[in-house]
Symmetry: C2
Subunit: 412 residues, 2 copies
């Protein structure tokens, strides 16, 4: 079940010239589903990524960082689901490198030109033999219009494949952006999230792409939470094949602002799709915090509300137990916050009501109004901290019986 989200049709996901994708069944965890995906890039593409800040980050994350930091010309990404290759120590690192070597052998490139990604259960050895055995099938399957299939092949507890696509005109040329993502639990990205891949045919200088990937992550994957657990494998990658004639050397390049916004739009759509498909989610909740001294404190307040199990269960129950929201604002760690200046609104279906001000419940607030809005599957909590001009948004979901069921059953 997901909240107001459906996977886009295959036809609506534009191929990116210079990039091909292929998937196969490797039986990483269980047979009978595609769980291995290869993405290839023609020479001349730029690739940039941001990765989890979890100290127990997965072996493939370390290998990705090594290969990107070395300045290698990246030619392939390989993604397996079913096993995170995290908490696997030195043998996990060897397994990730073996994967890169196998891909390199098949494509006639060097292992350093391959970025490996894994997602699934932590603390179990990656079955690298089954993985490499299935790689030739991925190669055989390589096609430019395989984004829809790849979005399915990278799923774990996701109930729906996640993808987004845009086609815009910049510098008088057509530019296409297409991306996929996965993730439903262990979602509270810190710098990036559980596997997001966005590609464009624009030519973007590597330095600029490094900046763009961080900015896009900051507006999208770094603004979502399902359960507050930062994954060991979060990775977000932007690829620019350079096949379009639109070229961007720096932030002053003509039309870069439009390109940047389009990439962010795709990233936000992919990030929100993860929350809409959050484990057990029945509601999509936006925490829109404004009036802060800086964006960071707005996001901190948004996360405090969006991660509170008490707030999330109240949303699940459509119970306007709004004191729980005030409590979360109060413990968000905002030094010197004057609660008398804080105002809180609830919004849904185009209606917005003030629920709290001057340290307490708003005089005009009626509980039946709160209860009515709480029934909507799309709810915004707007908070004005009343101490500055900064703002930030966090996207979250509610907390249902099914979250417990999914996570008590997963793996068992």
């Amino acid at each position: 079940m997901s909240v107001n989200y459906a996977t886009p049709s295959p036809e609506s996901l534009f191929p990116i010239d210079g990039i091909q994708l292929g998937s196969a069944e490797a039986a990483i965890r269980k047979p009978g589903r595609k769980d291995l995906t290869l993405i290839t890039l023609e020479p001349g593409a730029s690739v940039a990524g941001v990765f989890t800040q979890n100290r127990f980050c997965a072996a493939p994350v370390l290998v990705c960082q090594d290969h990107l930091n070395a300045g290698n010309s990246i030619r392939a990404l390989v993604i397996n689901t079913g096993n995170a290759n995290a908490g696997t120590g030195e043998s996990g690192r060897r397994a990730a490198l073996t994967t890169c070597e196998a891909v390199a052998g098949l494509l006639g490139i060097t292992p350093g030109q391959v970025l490996p990604f894994s997602t699934g259960v932590i603390l179990e050895p990656l079955p690298v033999d089954r993985l490499t055995a299935a790689l030739p099938c991925c190669v055989n399957d390589l096609k430019a219009d395989n984004w829809h299939a790849a979005a399915h092949a990278i799923m774990t507890t996701d109930t729906l494949a996640k993808a987004a696509s845009r086609r815009i005109s910049i510098q008088g040329k057509e530019v296409t952006i297409t991306g996929i993502s996965k993730g439903a639990g262990m979602i509270r990205p810190n710098m990036a999230t559980m596997l997001g891949f966005v590609a464009t045919d624009a030519a973007i200088h590597k330095t600029l792409l490094d900046r763009l990937v961080r900015e896009a992550a900051d507006e999208s994957f770094n603004c979502i939470t399902v359960d507050g657990d930062t994954s060991t494998n979060d990775s977000f990658v932007v690829m620019a094949s350079g096949k379009s004639e639109a070229v961007f050397a720096d932030i002053d390049a003509e039309g870069y602002r439009d390109l940047r916004q389009a990439v962010i739009d795709v990233a936000v759509e992919l990030a929100q799709a993860i929350v809409r498909d959050g484990e057990g989610a029945t509601k999509f909740i936006t925490l829109a915090v404004e009036g802060g001294k800086e964006r960071d404190e707005c996001k901190r307040v948004g996360y405090a509300i969006g991660q509170s199990p008490l707030v999330k269960t109240a949303f699940f129950a459509s119970d306007p137990n709004l004191g729980r929201i005030l409590a979360a604002i109060g413990y968000a760690g905002i030094s010197g916050l004057d609660v008398d200046n804080v105002r809180v609104w609830l919004a849904a279906c185009g209606e917005e009501i003030l629920i709290a001000e001057k340290g307490g419940r708003a005089d005009a607030y009626r509980e039946e109004d709160g209860a009515r809005l709480m029934k909507s599957p799309e709810i915004t909590v707007r908070v004005d901290l009343g101490r500055g001009l900064a703002a930030g948004k966090i996207y979250s979901c509610d907390f249902s019986y099914d979250y417990v069921k999914i996570n008590a059953d997963y793996r068992s």
Copy 2:
């Protein structure tokens, strides 16, 4: 349902000379249960407290702090359940002061000698008229051996009343310590927790008592979590009636170390009782973190594990999904943590097994061993951070369907 906890019998809770308790039905939220408690102290008693750091702290918390900071000789505590008087702004503050005035009138003391406490639903006006109308019944009920009844009268979603008592010999004199606490949800105290009251007949100088209450909170209520939500009303108070002949002027007083330990023992028992009765809890989990650079970072790692919804649902399912523990250690925000030096053990029923080391699963670990220990209702996760000599413990519980049920239904 609670985990290995039963309310002590009335006879096992020793009265404290100089302190009386009385409860009554005020129908604060619903009729038919005792929801108002008065505790009186004879002249000469010392009282010290620590309170929530939540910026949206409740009106009674502000009044308590005012009355304690003014150096007033405290003669009474008044505690209502059913309504937190939090998020109630200026009218909430007036309601708390009105409560103090009513108590003062009945006892012939000043309002500034009264400490008010509230617990229950946030953001709803306190029905102060019903509260003050029931106060005379509390006065009629005042008795020294009413601790058991008071422990029941301060409950909200608690399924069991929580109390603890000790009698020790210090300076050749008998010293008694008795306490009560309440709380089951919105539990992640920051400086104190949702209503804990400990009394002793020892004479303890106010300055020393101020220090003792902080130290005891730091070892007990500040080491527990149920859902990570810091309440608006957390309060922990230690009262010393001075009726025993044992006198403590400073930390060098004879036997003070024993008294301190006994007070901490009572506070730890009361704090653990809150976790054992945590909303929906089926397991009591101790996070024992050692080898840290400082105690604070050990507690931070303990909280990260103890608050992770993924870890808590895995414990509920008796699923040794231990990678979730590593992920939580990894995102606890310990700067420079070398995961290759981290070791993690699982312990239960007198057995301890090493589960992770050198950044991955321990070679000797067998999943059937983990699964066996996970079935115990009392489990310890021991973590050695391998970078120092500090240690700290956090007490938590698992996350079950009933947590969602209780919090989706509460109030509705």
